[in-house]
Subunit: 495 residues, 2 copies
């Protein structure tokens, strides 16, 4: 399958480029802004768009939206579809869902499997959904050079010039004696050495040496090549993926496919394949890059005030320096902080020194073991029809603000153990209650008794906002019987 000569011109090549956005991360290190079900990629960390929106916009430049693949999991897919709704139609069939996370190699193999089916000459441009990159031209140039190398069956990684002795990344040393290809100032080299996350002394040494690069987690390769290399270096994984391919082709039930995937052993593409492959190549790139791996790394990308503070939201400060203060709707008041991180969200507040921001990951582990809801999701939860925000929960009641997009409607549903009260605060609601259907305008309300079929719908052109008060002995989201749903969610057949 391998050939060392470009088989396609640049123009043709572009038609075979498939950006693959890796969007399965949990982003625990940006807690409390990120949550298990609302990871970093969905956040507006810098600029007006979220990280995954920025990533999408970046990769479509070199390709076409309908060739962008999204690798994620079922829990996040809905939120991602909402955020990428600008490209809704193009992406419709391009979500590849892992039923459970198995690290990068199985996820990439699954996408590669689908891509060789669609296009045997497919070149994958694998990019994480939650990195910040500045310099579209430099990015495009790197992709272009790497893609050419990919046609020669190289597994290409982008090397980032280190700016500090970081111990959290892997390092790569190019073999500068061999230049595989040159395009402008950019060069591709074979990889001479991979180094796993080094200790502080080693990291300082690599920084000083100047011929080591950070492993950015971005890769360019032919889908066929990476499958070949997975087969060579991870034969068990390849066997599992091959079997999944057969199941898919034979139209096996979803459950069988999911089970086969869940049986795979987790392995990362770096240690499992890249570090073992003879085909590894590196393109040292010139664009600015940050994986915004923790609150402290906001320093690298966000704009600062004169005292070096990154301040977002409604903040009143007296004399703080070099601190990160992130507020949401509430007031945050700070006095005399130095190198601190303060993050305030509707249900949780974090305070820690920048130097210990990495430990947020451990903190979230503690929350998880305590089954604290704050690790899982936000007070605001996005749904295909809009969103809801929990304003307060107490014994026997829950108060939500519910937002429904124009034309959106919730499923036709019923609850066994709670009644609901809806007050329209903006827009017009079309209410189905038992056999009645009626419109409710601003300032009006209705009561949905328990065990009554009901539906909320926005027939208007503006967003509908209602306040919902739930009453009952049990208020879990799972007390719901769905009769009809526009978004294909579990529906119970009527008797």
């Amino acid at each position: 399958m391998a050939s060392r000569k470009p088989r396609t011109s640049n123009l043709e090549l572009k038609n075979h480029l498939y950006p693959v956005i890796m969007a399965g991360g949990s982003g625990t290190r940006f807690w409390p802004l990120s949550r298990q079900l609302f990871p970093k990629q969905l956040l507006r960390i810098m600029g007006d768009e979220t990280l995954i929106q920025q990533t999408m916009r970046r990769v479509v430049c070199a390709s076409s939206p309908n060739r962008v693949m999204i690798s994620t999991n079922p829990a996040q897919a809905e939120s991602i579809r909402v955020q990428l709704s600008e490209w809704k139609d193009a992406l419709a069939d391009n979500f590849i869902l892992e039923p459970e996370g198995r690290n990068t190699a199985p996820a990439i193999a699954l996408v590669a499997l689908e891509l060789v089916r669609r296009d045997p000459d497919a070149i994958m441009v694998v990019v994480p959904a939650d990195h910040i990159i500045t310099g579209q031209r430099a990015f495009d140039a790197a992709v272009s050079l790497a893609a050419t190398l990919a046609t020669q069956d190289y597994l290409v990684t982008f090397g980032i010039k280190p700016i500090r002795p970081e111990t959290g990344y892997g390092y790569i040393r190019p073999n500068r004696k061999v230049t595989l290809r040159k395009q402008g100032l950019l060069k591709g080299h074979p990889v001479s050495r991979f180094v796993e996350k080094p200790n502080a002394a080693k990291a300082a040494q690599y920084l000083k040496a100047g011929d080591y690069y950070w492993n950015s987690g971005m890769f360019v390769w032919r889908a066929a090549t990476i499958l070949d290399e997975i087969k060579r270096h991870q034969p068990t994984l390849f066997g599992g993926i091959d079997r999944i391919g057969q199941l898919l082709q034979s139209g096996a039930p979803r459950k069988a496919i999911d089970d086969a995937y869940c049986a795979l052993k987790p392995v990362s593409i770096d240690t499992g394949v890249m570090e073992r492959s003879k085909k590894a190549a590196i393109v040292p790139v010139s664009f600015q890059w940050s994986d915004v791996g923790s609150w402290g790394s906001l320093d690298e990308v966000a704009s600062k005030d004169k005292a070096g503070n990154v301040v977002i939201g409604r903040v009143i400060d007296l004399g703080s320096r070099r601190s990160i203060v992130y507020g949401d709707r509430r007031l945050v008041a700070t006095i005399g902080l130095t190198d601190m991180v303060v993050v305030d969200t509707p249900d949780a507040t974090l305070v820690c020194p920048k130097s210990r921001a990495q430990e947020v990951k451990q903190l979230v582990e503690v929350l998880k073991t305590q089954n604290a809801p704050e690790y899982l999701e936000h007070m605001t939860v996005h749904r295909p029809w809009g969103s809801y925000t929990i304003l307060e929960e107490g014994p026997g009641y829950k108060v939500k603000r519910v937002t429904v997009k124009p034309g959106g409607r919730l499923s036709l549903q019923m609850h066994h153990r709670r009644s609901e009260h809806w007050v329209v605060i903006a827009g017009t609601a079309r209410v189905t209650r038992g056999d009645e259907v009626f419109d409710l305008n601003v300032g009006h309300s209705t009561e949905i008794p328990l065990e009554t079929r009901h539906r909320l719908e926005n027939p208007g052109e503006e967003t509908l906002h209602i306040i919902e008060v739930q009453n009952g002995p049990y208020l879990g989201e799972d007390d719901i019987v769905r009769f009809q749903d526009d978004y294909g969610r579990g529906v119970k057949r009527e008797a």
Copy 2:
């Protein structure tokens, strides 16, 4: 009027003791837990009771509830009455309200004026409402000795043994050559010297010298004596107070009396009278005392974990030391803090080093100039009938949780510019709506159109909780027309 011999026995003397609780403070230094309209004295800082409740319980020991006077202002009187409802009847006529704060001398003069009217031999025991004192017996003993000295026309102050070189207090040096009176280990001395808040070097010197005491702001004197001494040292103030006495006696309208009070010049009893008077005496006391003057001072009174942290509320911490973390309903997560203060409330969060906790006062000044609502009151506001909590405010709507005590009822009222929706989430509501009166049980709701007379009432034995959703172009608390009110609040006569 003066006489240097006790004129009354101890038993008789007790019948002339009038504790005066000074409860007009704004407590800005405990923001965001304290607010302009909810100062420190109303907070549960240590123990199950609020500071003013503890103060009340402390002073009634040596006196009787119906002789306790409360000096405060109209904005706080309601909250104080609610907190002291255990002594409701005894205190009914004992609130002396300053229309506006004029520092301690005018406030004390006003109470003294009332007390000489009630009892020419009245002895005032002036105590701030928001101090923490441990040792009831030692307190009672100090009051007893001081009261005896008061009958000899001394102006007695309690001296606190300094435990640190504090620069925030005044210092007093007793003239130990003269012992005015001795009772057990307690002694009373004439004051040899008052020192205003010293600098750090002086404070350290006084601490080392051992014969200086902190001025605690607690005083014992005959009401007649303090009026005499005010007349001597603050003749203008005395003239003003005297005129107010005449206005009161002649039954002048409230407005004239308020205007006369507001015309007084602010002056403190310490600098205006005590430091000038030849009758000043000091009783060095042995009880534990803290004025909890800032978040940092919680250290002196609150219990700590092994790492020296004071932790209140739902807090998850990794490795903090000597910090104060105060959470409310939301989760507060802290990592590696040292000597920090974190205070989280429903609408505002404060983060600062302990060493700068005094600057909270300045912060609140900034909030005030910005007219930020967070300086004024909490999301939860107490009313004579119960309380309400704002859950969310947005354009054209406001969501509140309203709590009504058993037997409590809101005024019969009407709004011009908003409709209201009530959903009962606990208890039973009796609703007046236009000409109807009906009961609403848990899980039921009603709609109050604008310009409709309505009333909410709790006819039951358990507390009533409702969710209220307001809708309209203007939602200010001042859009209210009251037709009848159980609590004597402004009522409009019906046409």
